[in-house]
């Protein structure tokens, strides 16, 4: 049996006694590519916070697989307006991803610098190294944040709507890049996604959240399910977005 990366067991996440996600159970296997989809307000981002350990479940448990430390989960956030205008070089941003291995020690060592350089190389953005983060295009910025998350991650990265606001071509490219990483580097990918077609096209598993239930399975199973058909139909009417 494959080892699991994350196991959610009857998880309920709530804000002020209002359950946002309730009684959710699923397992992310090592090497999995999971996309979490669903309409706005169904708790996708809250679930992400739960998986990151930033929010404690009010009941149930979220267990990380053997050998995975909380601090070794990579995270690619939704972009905030603060970041879009942040004066920092790509190198500074990527290097900051290695911070979790530094502890209290100031500065960055040779090991951290090598790691950051390696990840820039891996994502093909070495030439952006000394560019300013705020001068990049949306797609480049996401690659930089992905590189940073890979500096922090050993096995698992979580992404929260990383392609929001990107054009379809760049989005498609980004999903492909993730698939590459997933296959070649054996990195487990868990992503909240708005781009339904791309998610169905690339993911191994789909977790669909709706107001009162959820669906977990492969994209094919999802597309065949009643919930999936209803959701996909609605998305088509709006150009592929929920």
């Amino acid at each position: 049996m494959e080892q699991f990366c994350i196991q959610c067991d009857h998880v309920t996440l709530s804000y002020e006694n209002q359950a946002v996600v309730s009684d959710l159970s699923f397992t992310v296997e090592e090497g999995d590519y999971l996309c979490i989809i669903g309409e706005n307000g169904t708790g996708k981002s809250t679930l992400m916070k739960g998986l990151l350990g930033l929010k404690k479940p009010s009941s149930g448990s979220i267990v990380l697989g053997e050998g995975i430390l909380r601090s070794q989960i990579g995270y690619v956030p939704q972009q905030t307006p603060v970041q879009r205008d942040f004066p920092a070089s790509v190198w500074e941003v990527v290097l900051s991803g290695t911070q979790n291995s530094r502890g209290w020690r100031p500065g960055y060592g040779k090991r951290e610098k090598e790691l950051a350089g390696e990840k820039l190389e891996l994502l093909g953005i070495s030439e952006l190294r000394s560019k300013s983060f705020r001068d990049l295009s949306g797609g480049q910025r996401q690659r930089v944040l992905l590189a940073r998350s890979l500096c922090a991650a050993k096995k698992l990265i979580l992404l929260d709507e990383p392609t929001a606001g990107l054009d379809p071509l760049v989005t498609e490219e980004f999903y492909h890049l993730l698939l590459d990483l997933n296959r070649s580097q054996h990195i487990t990918v868990v992503m909240v996604s708005h781009a339904i077609q791309e998610a169905l096209g690339h993911a191994d598993h789909i977790l669909y959240l709706s107001q009162d239930s959820y669906f977990y399975g492969t994209p094919l199973e999802y597309a065949a399910s009643r919930a999936g058909q209803r959701f996909l139909k609605r998305c088509k009417g709006k150009g592929g977005r929920p």
């Binding site: 989960i73 970041q83 004066p87 070089s89 900051s96």
Partner: protein, 272 residues
Amino acid sequence: MIEYVTRMFSYPFMVRALAVGLLVSLCAALLGVSLVLKRYSMIGDGLSHVGFGAVAVASALHLAPLAVAVPVVVAAAFLLLLLGESGRLKGDAATAVFSTGALAVGVMVMSVSTGMNADVNSYLFGSILAASRQDVAVSVVLSVIVLILYVFFYEKLFAVTFDETFAKATGMKTGVYNALLAVLTAVVVVLGMRMMGALLISSLIVFPALTAMRLFRSYRSVILGAVAFSLLGFLAGIGISFGWGAPAGASIVVVDMALFGICSFAAWPRRR
């Protein structure tokens, strides 16, 4: 020119003011970059009003102003931070409540105890004559501590400023670093208050950072640029103040403003 500078340095109080001023300007510029980027620009202003209240109470009780103001303002900074996190009173509203409240208490205490005299003026608008020998010693020691802590935690403060969620998710104690930032800011605000005045200290924090951000694109260069602009603004401001007998604080702000204007203009063609 040389004669002018020599004459300036022949007064012991000017030498003291320069020593303290340069150190405090340096610290303010460093912290300013983080504060501006975290959208906390007004926190300096709020804290300085609290500082004014504390200094007023201290002088009414004949206590050393710095010994009272530093702990009070540090406590206020902590409280603002906690309130901001718990979300009961939003950050800007909390700052407004604190600053006006403390200012009112300060003015009340002052008018009842010593009367509204020149002292009030020097606290509100700053005075380079205000620094006593003891004040200078305390200021130098505290600003050197701020400097050391800042340099030691430079990378952490960058990580927390750039992306707090990421930092937290990867196991950094973001609360500790936010608190550190608040405490350092509080100390710098109190130290700078004597020179700049309660009403003007936040410009010492905000202007150099904003000016540097116009010109530079990487974090390190913004930091170094802010320090350079801050020191330049301070020296030019002090010079003007000495020549025309204008208050040092206001002169420094006017120079900072001019630098900001020039750099914005210079950077304008590059903006798309």
